[in-house]
């Protein structure tokens, strides 16, 4: 028993160590890419808490990322706050924005809620460009952050935060709060008859989820050292939802796959086509990469409708079951 425990600690330590030295093995640019993946991991994690666990679809999380990103950029350039210290503040500001949006959103359900959140994503660039706010946001010219960080820095900071936020999400999902979220998702009537206050919990889910988006948006601003309304473009919100669906709604283990898809598939669409297509298609012709991205998405949804998390469960369940019966027999 004690030996097994020791092994487990050693395994965790070895995994931690190899993750820590990874950026030095793969080079600074790959570390940057993995850091960006960590940013999407955080955003999708938060979206999953809202959409996957509480059943409230949001196609507007790019806008909450923007709130976090602008908070960081403004604090770092105007107030001289070291940029890494602005990350939690970006999260809190976005969380507050999410709470405020969550209150009127209570009246909306399903498709209507999805449309309202999409409205936020569409409106965000125009709000950031508005004449009244231009002094603060610098309109379309955008804000250059004072510090450029290396890929290794981004990797370390992002994944340290991602690990902490993953543990937090895990704790939330397995707490009273998480049970209330799932109860609301499965049946609001049943949940409220059990004493769950739908309004309070839904607003809480919006706030928590937007906090995650804000942290991600803030890290995204730091990774680019630049914000402008186009950085948090409308489709970013769609990409996050796509990532959540690919990872598997209501599954924390699949989030990694969703983040990997959002990070790696769009920029590599042409190379993917070259690798798999039997036809001589000009994969770099304008527009072709968009079609490949669409096709990849359709394939994933057809082949693994429950996402990576569901796939993992389907594969691991019989294995685990067999392990269990064997140990019982022996």
């Amino acid at each position: 028993m004690r030996l097994a425990w020791g092994l487990r600690v050693a395994a965790v330590a070895a995994a931690g160590l190899s993750l820590a030295i990874l950026p030095f093995l793969v080079g600074d640019y790959r570390a940057f890419e993995l850091g960006r993946m960590g940013i999407f991991f955080i955003a999708i994690l938060g979206l999953n808490l809202l959409t996957g666990y509480t059943g409230q679809v949001s196609i507007g999380h790019g806008a909450f990322m923007a709130v976090g990103g602008y908070t960081s950029a403004i604090l770092a350039t105007r107030c001289g706050v070291p940029d890494y210290l602005t990350i939690p503040l970006g999260g809190l500001t976005a969380g507050l924005a999410g709470l405020l949006f969550g209150i009127p959103a209570l009246r909306l359900r399903g498709l209507y809620l999805a449309l309202a959140t999409f409205g936020v994503a569409v409106a965000m660039p125009s709000i950031a460009k508005h004449d009244r706010l231009e002094g603060l946001t610098k309109g379309t010219t955008g804000i250059n952050l004072p510090e450029l960080h290396s890929g290794t820095w981004l990797y370390g900071v992002t994944w340290a935060i991602a690990a902490a936020l993953f543990l937090l999400a895990f704790a939330i999902v397995n707490s009273r709060l998480g049970r209330a979220f799932r109860a609301l998702r499965d049946s609001e009537v049943a949940a409220s008859s059990m004493g769950v206050n739908p309004a309070a919990y839904k607003v809480a889910a919006f706030g928590i989820s937007s906090f995650y988006a804000g942290v991600a948006g803030s890290l995204y601003a730091l990774s680019n050292a630049y914000v402008n309304p186009d950085v948090y473009f409308v489709s970013l919100s769609l990409f996050l939802l796509i990532g959540a669906v690919i990872g598997g709604l209501g599954s924390l283990t699949g989030v990694m796959a969703g983040a990997a898809f959002v990070q790696f598939v769009p920029p590599n669409a042409s190379s993917i086509l070259d690798a798999v297509s039997p036809f001589a298609v000009d994969s770099r012709a304008p527009g072709v990469p968009s079609v490949i991205l669409g096709a990849a998405l359709v394939l994933v949804v057809l082949l693994a409708p429950t996402g990576a998390g569901g796939l993992l469960r389907r594969i691991s369940a019989p294995l685990m079951g067999r392990l269990y019966t064997r140990s019982e027999g022996g």
Partner: protein, 407 residues
Amino acid sequence: MTRTRVSILAFGLVAAVAAAAAGASPAADPGLTASSILIGGTAPLSGEASSAAAVARGAEAYFKYVNARGGVNGRRITYKYVDDGYDPGRTVQAVRQLVQQDRVFALFNTLGTANNLAIRDFLNSEKVPQLFVASGYTAWGSDARRYPWTIGYIPSYLSEGTVYGRHLVKTKPGAKIGVLYQNDDYGKDLLNGLRKGLGSKAGQIVKAVAYDPTSTNVDSQVAELKGTGANTFVVFAFGKFAIQAFIQANRLGWRPQIYVNAVSASSNLLTLATQTSSKKTTTGAISIVFAKDPADPSWAGDPGIKLFEQIMKRYVPGGNLKDGYYSAGMASAFTLVDTLKKAGKNLTRQSVLKASANLNEANNPFLLPGIVVKTGPSDRFPVEQMQLERWSGTRWTRFGGLVTAKS
């Protein structure tokens, strides 16, 4: 929480050590061998602006043509351009990949105003030349002191707007001007230029209405401008929005004198606008031009356009021979080749940068005859000359001589 902080500190420490080690050995500049030069770029192969990717493909075709003739000083040019979907966040990642992973010698022809603003700090801190940016934002030239590694190419939007303003002052003293402009740096740059060109007559702008590039149409803006009783309609709008402006003016029965900015004034676009609105609306519209438009029949037999068609047929099979984006890409590629020649056999990033700020190129076959691509230590605007042109209903006709307006 403490564990997070400790790991951040640990990562930071290791990163600092690694950075110090990496900076220790200065060698020849990256991306160069005795027989090759690796140049990087970004272009929107996907997304809303993907039609403009032809700029990068045109440049690539020209480099292939040059390579087939022995390259530049014995070096063949490889032009690696990456899709950024017109998203500045992806441009940052693509440029990091090109600089750190692919180790390109320089960046060339990166497309989009915000996209270039997003990478300018990084490239200048890494001292990688950001050459001939594919955007007319005025700051590429005017910020040269702060960003010495960045240089633009096409006439600035500010100078283009100024040319329209001056033309109005000269030809239409009683003009009541309504302006439709895109709500970003590009639209505002043009509008500021127009005001500058009008000078003391700037009060003749009765209304300037903005539209957002994410909106679906500009119908209400055009109606609002018509309502002011304006007799001159200045369209500083991009692509489909410019076409919509013509359509809506036609629908409302509004027949003002129209000015339309150069990025939305290709023959293809105006032909489409004529078909979807009416000949009456588009005829007489005024714009500027600085490159030879392959769709303009008056260039038939011109050696530059012949060369363009020859290169297209050979290196971009199936590409549209009337698409001005391709020839625009070739024009800047021609200037890059010229710059590399000037920088000499012992290329360094520094020598190429210096050559780019010392151009005096009078023979660019893809630009209008007489245009000299000229830069100097205090002049970082390569193409500054342009010519006014008027739409006849079926084609553009250039008029007046070459004009300039200093930014």
